[in-house]
Symmetry: C2
Subunit: 336 residues, 2 copies
């Protein structure tokens, strides 16, 4: 073990509006030593996800905020360095929610061992990890698209949206993505195989959506909110389902804007339902079993956007909240 | 058969905003004669329901509008006068969607015969009719309240709300009504047995709701929208369900006001779902079988608000849209 110091990113200040790098601090400390039954891991990858904005705020939410001075929460993938747990050996690849830090000590129960020979390690934070399961659970438990239906996915090039749309394609639906900028839209259509992708920065989002969805919208996977939601809602068909997964356009807002009038929910019998992936933990194993062969044979496509160095995690989070990432955003914390 | 003329109420003009009596016209015509297999009925009761406002408008909706010059749609209860259908005999009590008129000729398949000896005929338009089934379907298919949960019902003294709340009480929930005025609130608590009833005309609706719902709100049966919805939504608990049955406060609106920001739907995993009772026709027979004994033993309470004379049906509709009725609103079209 060559590393002598533990490096962590802690929260220093709750942001008001857009977070700043100065709201965080990189701190160093003594390398922790695993006790009986514990494991020391070295993090290789840190996942950066929009939900983390919620942890910076002490607004009431489904999860407790990160305390001031505490290490930022986040999913990590890495390897075992020292193990006092017979179930783990040095060199084992593991994933867990180990936070924004270079190493951690924890009980083996807090880690999931990744069998060798499968997908690359980072995939377990994206397509085979929390974002992939979120897409799967949203489509399975709420959206349930049928062949011939029209499914619209916002943030379509993101870690969740890219999987959600590919699942809807597998179900035989017409799939229309919404993404920011021509490059992302091109990738969503050409690489992911969506039928269309609409640029939400274009001047006439509603017109473009109407053109792309001539039969209206049956399922909407909501990751964005705001103007995108406003354009999508009037196009929803009777018995339409809306998977309310996130509204990243609102996460830095100081006050909530009003939403759509809900009268249409009655007449169209819409179902608008919220999704937090951890509510159905059984979906994780289900999804890994289902999707691993698709990743292996290349039929489930994904894209990673890598930023080097734990110290750049705050900038990465600030970037994802503004849609700067292109694909699953990862911080490379240590060498693979 | 002593009546010589058919009396009908036809739509003359689509209202802009609140309907006026001059938007309708009472017309007389020759009494129709039933053809082979047809039945002539005399309507005794006409149901007046808020949904009828939608039929006056040619705004796109789940149902076609009533055409200008056509007889207004509505549920009726009456008796058979002449029958050319062996399944019906003169004097049989029947219910059907026969419109705002004194008599109708139709196929027997468009009528449901009411066996003698059951509830009073008018009950088949209220507690045992469409409004009762609406409440039942909303609670069964969407709300599904559990013992100990808090259920809030808007328009609690109305035909739908009064049944919905009593069903939630039977499920063991704490039930809080919202109604307009002290008299209605008293009746909702004392006669229907709701745990509390909040007057939405009171100065601090939010404060009153917070007091009445110390554990938050798990199920909300939405009949009203507007300021009532605005007060209820922030109090919804995680995994809360909202039965979107109607939004009567908006029916006369010339333009839709914005609704709640949907961010809370994500974090709280809310389910907001629209309901149109005709989507599950099987619920009608189910509900009649379930509720008839409760009506017979007096344990399912209801209240009727009767207006005499078909010519007063337009005024009755205008009134229900402003919350003037107290209980199930009926027009007595003919003598029982």
């Amino acid at each position: 073990m060559s590393d002598k110091l533990l490096k962590s990113v802690v929260l220093r200040k709750r942001p008001d509006g857009e977070p700043r790098e100065s709201d965080f601090e990189v701190v160093s400390g003594a390398m922790p030593v695993p006790g009986p039954g514990q494991v020391l891991t070295r993090n290789i990858w840190l996942s950066i996800d929009p939900y983390m904005r919620g942890r910076l705020s002490d607004r009431k939410s489904y999860a407790a905020p990160v305390e001031i001075g505490a290490v930022m929460e986040g999913e990590t993938a890495g390897e075992v360095v020292v193990s006092n747990d017979p179930a783990f050996a040095p060199g084992d690849h593991v994933v867990g929610a180990r936070g924004w830090q270079s190493h951690t000590v924890c009980s083996g129960r807090q880690l999931t061992k990744i069998a060798p020979g499968g997908a690359r390690l980072s995939a377990y934070l994206g397509v085979l990890g929390m974002p992939g399961v979120t897409a799967y659970s949203g489509m399975k438990d709420i959206g349930a698209p049928k062949a011939g239906e029209t499914v619209v996915i916002s943030a379509a090039s993101g870690a969740v949206g890219s999987v959600a749309g590919q699942l809807a394609k597998r179900a035989g639906a017409r799939v229309v993505g919404i993404a920011g900028g021509a490059e992302k839209c091109l990738w969503v259509q050409e690489s992911l195989g969506f039928d269309e992708c609409v640029d939400h920065r274009a001047s006439d989002l509603t017109g473009a959506l109407v053109d792309a969805c001539p039969k209206g919208i049956d399922v909407y996977f909501e990751n964005v909110g705001g103007a995108v939601q406003e354009a999508v809602f009037p196009l929803l068909n009777p018995f339409g389902r809306v998977i309310m997964c996130g509204m990243v356009s609102q996460y830095n807002a100081r006050a909530m804007e009003p939403g759509p009038n809900l009268m249409a929910v009655v007449g169209k019998r819409l179902r608008i339902q919220g999704l937090i992936v951890s509510d159905k933990p059984e979906r994780f194993a289900e999804w890994r079993a289902l999707a691993a062969p698709w990743v292996a044979d290349g039929s489930l496509r994904f894209r990673e956007d890598v930023i080097d160095g734990l110290e750049n995690a705050p900038a990465a989070l600030i970037g994802i909240l503004g849609g700067k990432n292109f694909g699953k955003l990862l911080v490379r914390v240590g060498k693979e």
